[in-house]
């Protein structure tokens, strides 16, 4: 296993692990890849930190959708836009 020197503040994972760690974090890694990525991350400080951070980031991004779904119609199309949409719907029906 290739482990790089951990300086403690680097955001970057080991180059050859970046794709595997991303796929582990977003849940698209096949099981063998996931196992290897987790094993490596457990022994490599910066890959461990990267996996934790990118997993958190993806969780936060998923959260934006939930936040978006909870919004009210105040943040929607303007009234004149709605009028235009309804006029175009009426055209389509003809």
């Amino acid at each position: 296993m290739n482990l790089h020197k951990d300086t403690g503040d680097s955001l970057e994972p080991c180059k050859h692990m970046e794709s595997m760690l991303n796929r582990t974090a977003d849940g698209t890694a096949p099981s063998a890849m996931r196992w290897y990525a987790l094993y490596h991350a457990a022994h490599c400080g910066r890959c461990g930190r990267f996996l934790k951070r990118v997993t958190l980031l993806i969780g936060q991004l998923h959260g934006l959708k939930a936040e978006r779904c909870a919004e009210t119609s105040e943040d929607g199309l303007t009234a004149d836009r709605w009028e235009s949409v309804e006029a175009q719907w009426a055209e389509i029906e003809k």
């Binding site: 403690g8 980031l57 936040e67």
Partner: protein
């Protein structure tokens, strides 16, 4: 009831059914469009408007199976966005890749002065995560919006953006790395040691 009256009644029922779906999802669509368009909020409104018209046409043609209206509308929204961008590029005489994968096109979040329009976007855009998202090049931002926020499968993102699935993965990896770098610079708790 004669045929014309019946047809009009059916059209009204269809219209009401679709209007309910549209009204339920319009604010979500607008937020997604804003994330795609960056600071151009008029363009976001245009795209949502186009989306609701195109979606109604598809709805009347029976091209909506009744499941997952949010995902269905998001797909139409993305296509409307890409079509509009393509038209704008054609109109302005620009040629080349639809979504340039050129890292040099990325905006610098740190050096930009927020416009009055930006300031009007209360709350969300000022949050570090939204700022990090807006700093991404368009090609990467679309992948993040569709895959990480809308949670569409990568195969579907690849289909919508007309790129191989490997390109979706590599754009996501680059986008996430850049977002982490920006969040660290903003002292986000997400990237504290």
């Amino acid at each position: 009831m004669n045929c014309t009256t019946m047809e009009a009644s059916q059209a009204n029922t269809k219209r009401s059914e679709f209007a309910a779906i549209a009204k339920l999802h319009q604010s979500a669509l607008l937020r997604t469009a804003k994330r795609m368009c960056g600071a151009d909020h008029d363009l976001a409104q245009d795209i949502v408007q186009d989306t609701l018209v195109a979606a109604y046409r598809a709805f009347l043609d029976g091209r909506f199976d009744g499941r997952h209206p949010g995902a269905w509308l998001t797909r139409i929204l993305t296509n409307s966005y890409l079509y509009t961008k393509r038209q704008n590029r054609t109109d302005s005489g620009l040629e080349g890749e639809l979504i340039p994968n050129n890292e040099s096109t990325q905006a610098s979040w740190s050096g930009s002065v927020p416009s009055p329009e930006d300031s009007l976007l209360k709350g969300a855009l000022s949050e570090p995560l939204e700022r990090a998202l807006m700093s991404l090049p368009e090609s990467q931002r679309l992948c993040v919006v569709l895959a990480d926020i809308e949670e569409l499968p990568y195969s579907e993102v690849a289909l919508i953006l007309e790129v191989p699935i490997g390109t979706v993965r590599s754009r996501l990896a680059r986008a996430r790395m850049q977002m982490l770098t920006i969040l660290r610079d903003l002292n986000s708790p997400l990237v504290q040691p």
